[in-house]
């Protein structure tokens, strides 16, 4: 890619990542939520990969980093849902943290925690799909 694209990608990627994080954390106050913010964070990583080419990436043979973080995020999501079994009224997916006042950042029970975990999971899943289809698409010879 040309020099202009590389310089602009270097300057902007931090702002895109920060914007995605803002949309995830304020998911219960403004439009957005876990899915939108996770997709935006995946977009920041994809911009870096497309601007700088795949030569620095091909030193590693497989995409293990994003795969491990995606699995860990959905495991934590399931553990938080099962924890509703043992606290308060004993149902699955119970909202067991205190509700608080509407409109503040720390409110709405366990919904911000669910938003953050879903955001990490969506970003890692989209990044794994992109890496597997475009960068690391050779068959592994056994």
């Amino acid at each position: 890619m040309s020099l202009i694209v590389k310089k602009v990608a270097q300057l902007i990627t931090g702002f895109i990542f920060l914007y995605g994080l803002y949309i995830i954390v304020h998911g219960h106050l403004t439009p957005g939520g876990g899915f939108a913010g996770g997709a935006i964070i995946a977009g920041a990583y994809i911009l870096q990969i497309l601007a700088f080419g795949k030569a620095p990436l091909l030193l590693v043979k497989k995409e293990t980093g994003s795969s491990i973080s995606e699995s860990l995020a959905i495991l934590l999501f399931l553990m938080m849902a099962v924890a509703g079994f043992f606290i308060g009224t004993k149902v699955f997916f119970n909202n067991f943290l205190p509700v608080g006042k509407i409109g503040e950042l720390v409110s709405a029970g366990a919904i911000p925690i669910y938003n953050i975990l879903i955001g990490i999971e969506v970003a890692a899943a989209l990044l794994t799909i992109f890496l597997a289809l475009i960068i690391y698409k050779e068959e592994i010879e056994e």
């Binding site: 998911g27 439009p31 997709a39 935006i40 995606e70 699995s71 997916f93 597997a132």
Partner: protein
Amino acid sequence: MELTLSILLGFMIIGALFALHAKDLLSAVIAAGIVGYSLVICFLLLKAPDLAIVQIVVETITLIIMVAVVLDSTREELNVKIDTQQIINMSLAFIFMLVLIFFFIQAIETLNPFGEHSLRMASAYVGETAAKTGSANLVTGVLFDFRGYDTLGEATILFTAAIGVLTILRIKGKK
């Protein structure tokens, strides 16, 4: 409002018809992207900001994947030969369309006119979400608290798709 939506939907129909009849595969993929981006404007006009953010990012990622796959291969499409198999295909498509139109005409008489929604189920959701969950965004409150199982199912589908792509591309075929 209805006029603006009709113009946008007509634009999407023309874009879809062009995407199916284009000779070059890259033009077809870009025309499919036009349909997706017009959907974002329709969502903004219908007062759904969550959906607009998700649709614009997901459409960009889909376009990146499709353009990368198309540029890596031949871009020409062979001419469509009108032989017996093609005529059978087109008549089958016509029969399916007639059956669907018949059912659609019967179903559209039971719908309310556009813009008057009776809110039979949602009146309970709108009234209780603020008190029971405490979130100001009604869509997030419905999605994570009242209908949490759907969110769990969707996270599972995305996880399975990532693993499925890795499996399809890595199995070594027979010689």
